[in-house]
């Protein structure tokens, strides 16, 4: 791993197109800003890891077993679910 020391307001370049700005340091938290081409997906690693795992399971590639997915889809009769988030509940 490459380790660099940077001050608030300073920047690190990753290749030609990606800038990482150190915006603030508050206690043990560092606030970073990113400037990158739109093709670059920027995510917190824990979000990335969880999403990748879920996508891997949902993404059907050639290696997966040939279950009759279409038949399964045709048996499905859905009902709508209420997913109102609970953040506002008291």
């Amino acid at each position: 791993m490459l380790v660099l020391r940077r001050k608030i307001g300073e920047t690190v370049m990753l290749g030609d197109n990606i800038e990482v700005h150190v915006l603030a340091v508050e206690g043990d938290t560092v606030k970073l800003g990113f400037v990158a081409p739109r093709s670059v997906q920027i995510l917190r690693k824990e979000v990335y890891d969880a999403l990748m795992q879920e996508n891997r399971q949902a993404g059907i590639d050639a290696a997966s077993e040939g279950k009759p997915v279409l038949d399964l889809l045709k048996t499905y009769r859905n009902v709508k679910s209420d997913v109102t988030s609970e953040e506002g509940s008291s």
């Binding site: 999403l51 499905y76 997913v83």
Partner: protein, 150 residues
């Protein structure tokens, strides 16, 4: 007639002939396969489901329009994504959920829906940050709701 069709030779679904307007560009790819940029959206007959199939790879996802399965599902889309998708107004964006089938049970990913803009034929998997939605949300079937289907 005379419309340009693309042939996807899918190991799973057989030969899929897709029209140009069914092909979406995912500039950021999909997490796990960020190098794959071109996907085709194909409806599954007699079901509310769609197949999102990579044009040049044997990778596919099952999608369902969010409006078919969830109520009161809403979130803010950040400016970068609006720009990426070239969406001019909120109605331009169609929200799909990725379906995950585990042991014949259906789940949808509410945390990271697939957004498609038909007019610009751009798409992305968008991670919702302003609301706390689950990555794996079980879909109820009608039988389970005590209302046997026809």
């Amino acid at each position: 007639m005379g419309e340009r069709m693309t042939l996807i030779r899918s190991d799973r679904y057989g030969d899929l002939h897709v029209a140009e307007e069914q092909i979406y560009r995912f500039e950021k790819g999909i997490v796990g396969w960020q190098d794959i940029k071109q996907y085709a959206l194909i409806g599954v007959e007699d079901t509310p489901f769609f197949i999102l199939h990579a044009v040049d790879e044997q990778l596919s996802f099952i999608l369902i329009p969010a409006e078919k399965v969830v109520l009161d599902y809403g979130f803010e889309i950040d400016d970068e994504t609006v720009e990426l998708l070239d969406a001019k107004k909120p109605e331009d964006v169609v929200i799909f959920l990725i379906v995950n089938i585990i042991d014949d049970a259906f789940y949808v990913n509410l945390k990271a829906p697939v957004l498609l803009v038909p007019r610009s034929r751009a798409g992305c998997q968008y991670v919702i940050h302003d609301r706390d939605y689950p990555l794996r949300f079980p879909l109820r079937r009608r039988e389970e709701a005590g209302n046997a289907g026809p």
